[in-house]
C-alpha cells in the first residue's frame, strides 16, 4: 500500500449528525456577515433610522406637553414625524423611514440565493452531497432570517441608546415591550421581502435580472402602491353620494390598501408604538363615527394595541409563508441543470 491511502484516516467516527440545512445556513450566515452588502445595509439602515430620530428628538419637547402619559414620551421618538426647519417640511418618522428601506434588507440577502449558485456552477456539487434538496432553500432562508434579525436588533438597539442619551428619559417596561414587539413585526415584514427575493432567485435565472425585478417591485409597492390602489379604489368605490355610501366606500378603499404589505406594516407599527392610537380602521357607519368621537382620549395598554393589529400581523405572516412556499415548491420541481 502506498502512502496515499496510508495517510487517509479511517472514516468511521462521524461527528454528531447535524441537519443539512444547519450546515448550509451556517455557511451562508458567515458569508453574509463578511459580505460588503451587509456593511452597506447596516450603514444605510442605521442612517435611515438615526436621521429622523435626531429631528424627532428635537421636536419632542413641544410634543411632550401633549403626550399625556410620561410612559409614552420615549416611544414617541419612533413614530413622531418631525417638522424640519421653518418651511413646514415634515420628515417621515423612524417607522416611516424603516418601512421604506427595510425591504431592501430582505431583498439584498436573497435575490441571488439560488441563481447565484447556478451561475457559479456550485449547485450540482452542493446537491450531490448527502443533504436533502430542500436543505438548500431552508438553510439559505434561515441564514437570511438570522442576518435580518441581527441587523434589526443592532440598528434599533443603537438608535434607542442614542435616544436615551439625547432625551435623558429612561423608557418604562411597557415601552421597551412595545419596541420589542415592533422589532418583531419589522422582522416579519422584512422576512416577507426575503421570501420574495428567494422566490425570484429560484424562478429568475440571472441574478442581475432578479435584483432588478425585486427592487422594481419594492419601488412600485412602497412608493406608488398607495397611488395605484387609490386610483383603482376611486374607480370601484368612489367617495361620492350619501354620507353612508361615502363611509362604506372609504372602508372598502381601506381594505384594498391593506393588500399592500407596506400598509399592513405601517398600521401594525404605528399602533404598536403609539398607545394613543385606538383604532386602525376608520368607522364604516355614522354610528361608528359618533362613537369614536365620544370616546375619551386615553392610552391603550400593550395587549389592547396588540389585539388591534393582530390581523395585520397575521396577514404579513401569511404573505411571508406563501412566498416561501412558492419558492420552495419551485425549487423542488426544478431540474438540477435548468
Amino acid at each position: 500500500m502506498t502512502e496515499t491511502t496510508a495517510a487517509l484516516p479511517a472514516r468511521r467516527a462521524r461527528s454528531v449528525p447535524r441537519a443539512g440545512w444547519m450546515v448550509v445556513a451556517g455557511k451562508e450566515f458567515g458569508d453574509h456577515l463578511l459580505s460588503a452588502r451587509f456593511i452597506v445595509l447596516v450603514i444605510v439602515l442605521g442612517l435611515a433610522a438615526a436621521i429622523p430620530l435626531y429631528f424627532a428628538a428635537a421636536a419632542i419637547r413641544e410634543v411632550a406637553s401633549s403626550v399625556t402619559d410620561a410612559q409614552a414620551v420615549f416611544i414617541a421618538l419612533f413614530w413622531l414625524a418631525p417638522d424640519v426647519g421653518t418651511g413646514g417640511i415634515t420628515l417621515p418618522s423612524v417607522v416611516g423611514f424603516l418601512g421604506y428601506v427595510a425591504p431592501l434588507l430582505g431583498l439584498a440577502f436573497a435575490f441571488d440565493a439560488i441563481n447565484g449558485e447556478r451561475a457559479d456552477g456550485t449547485l450540482p456539487r452542493l446537491l450531490s452531497q448527502p443533504i436533502h434538496r430542500d436543505d438548500v432553500v431552508n438553510g439559505k432562508f434561515a441564514a437570511g432570517l438570522s442576518v435580518i434579525g441581527l441587523v434589526l436588533v443592532c440598528v434599533v438597539g443603537g438608535i434607542s441608546a442614542f435616544g436615551l442619551i439625547r432625551l435623558g428619559i429612561v423608557p418604562a417596561a411597557p415601552e421597551v415591550l412595545r419596541i420589542v414587539l415592533w422589532v418583531l413585526v419589522t422582522f416579519i415584514y422584512v422576512s416577507l421581502w426575503l421570501a420574495f427575493g428567494m422566490l425570484l432567485s429560484v424562478v429568475v435565472h440571472r441574478a442581475a435580472t432578479s435584483a432588478l425585478i425585486g427592487f422594481g417591485t419594492w419601488l412600485l409597492l412602497t412608493f406608488f402602491g398607495g397611488l395605484i390602489v387609490s386610483l383603482i379604489g376611486g374607480v370601484i368605490a368612489p367617495l361620492a353620494g350619501t354620507v353612508e355610501e361615502q363611509l362604506r366606500n372609504n372602508s372598502l378603499q381601506e381594505g384594498l390598501r391593506r393588500l399592500l404589505p407596506d400598509t399592513l406594516y405601517r398600521e401594525a407599527s404605528l399602533t404598536l408604538l403609539n398607545p394613543q392610537v385606538t383604532s386602525v380602521s376608520t368607522p364604516a357607519t355614522i354610528g361608528g363615527y359618533e362613537q369614536a368621537a365620544q370616546r375619551i382620549p386615553s392610552l391603550l395598554s400593550l395587549d389592547q394595541s396588540f389585539i388591534l393589529v393582530w390581523p395585520q400581523v397575521v396577514g404579513l405572516v401569511a404573505m411571508t409563508v406563501a412566498c416561501f412556499a412558492l419558492a420552495y415548491v419551485a425549487f423542488m420541481r426544478q431540474e438540477v441543470r435548468a
Partner: protein, 381 residues
Amino acid sequence: MSDGPGRIAPKRRPGRRLATASEAGAPTGSATSTRAASAPLDRRSLERRPPDDVRIRTRALTKRYGDLVAVDRLDLDVKAGEIFGLLGQNGAGKTTTILMLLGLTEPTSGEAWVAGLDPTRGPLEVKRRVGYMPDSVGFYGDMTGRENLRYTARLNRIAPAEAAATIEVVLGQVGLADRADDRVDTYSRGMLQRLGIADALVKDPDILILDEPTTAIDPLGVGEILDLLRGLVRERGLTILLSSHLLNQVQSVCDRIGIFASGRLIGQGTMAQLAARFGDGTGHLELGLDVDDPATAERARALVAAVDGVTSVRTGATPSDPWVVTVASAPDAKRVRIAILAIVAAHALPLTSIREVVPSLEDIYRRAVALPAQRGPEVAA
C-alpha cells in the same frame, strides 16, 4: 492489500437500510412523489438488487423531457473495482444518466441501483457513498480551495479534525497543495477540475462519478490525474464511472467502455470486445524492414503477400516507413505473424520490427456512431 474491494462491503452497511427508508419519507422532490408506493416497491427492488460486485446497474432506464428522449432504455453494468468510460457526443445523454444515478433527476421509467441502492428512493445514502464531479464544476470564488473542501466535508458530517487531515491528503493527490489557501476565483479552469476531483474524494467514496474530469487540464496534468484514478482503483478498490469525449484518455484509463449515441448505449465492453463488434473483422500487422534496393523490397512484398490469410500488403511511401499487412480475419493475425517470422528467417530478410496494430478507440467510435441505431444496445459482458 487487505483494504481491497472487499473492504467496502462491510463498512457502514449495517443498519443503513433503515435509515434510507426514513430518508425517503423526508420531503425531497423525488421522494415525496414515491412515498406512498415505497413500501411494496422496496421489497421488489430488494429482490431484484444486483449482486454485490455490480456497483452500478441500470435496467431500461429512460428519461424524457417532453418529446425529447434524453436517455433511452439504458442497460448498464459497472462492476466493483473497474473504471468505466461513458463515451459520446455532446447531448448524447451522458450527463442525464449520471444525474439519474445520483438521484438528482428522476427517471421517467426503468430502474437503477447504485451501490445496491435505488437512487430515487434513497438519494441521501447513495450520495453519501458516491463522489461526484459535475462537468464545468464550480466553487465559491470568495473562499479558498481548502475552505470549499471543508464545506463539503461539513455537508458530509465529517468531524473537523478528520476532515482537515483528509483534505490535506486529497489536495496533495490532485497536486493543489501549494495553492490550497488561495481564493478559488484566482484558479484556472484546470485547477478547478483538480479541485473538483479532490472535492469528490473528500467524502471517501466507494464510487466515483466524474463528468468530463480532464477537459481543461494540461496534458501532463491529465497523465497525473489518470494515474491517480488508476491508483485509487488499485489501492482502495474504488469503482469509477467517467464520461468523456477525449478518446485517447478513455482508451488509456478505462477497463470497459460504453458508447452513447442520441440517448442509447450502442455498445459496451472492453476495447477488444468493442473492436470485435464494431471492427470490419480484419487485423493489421506492422512490419519494419530495412531494405534499400527495390528488387529486395519487391521480393519481400511478394513473399509476405503469399502468406495464407493476408489480403493486402501496403508498403510505405519511403523505404524506411513500416509496411501495413492486412489480415482477412483478426484472430488469424497471430498465426500470420508467426508465418511471416518464419519466412523472414528462411529468406534472411532484414526485418527490424513486427507488431500487431490494435484499432484505436477513435476508429471504433467512428464506426459505432456511424452504424444505424436500429441495431440497438447489445450487452457484451
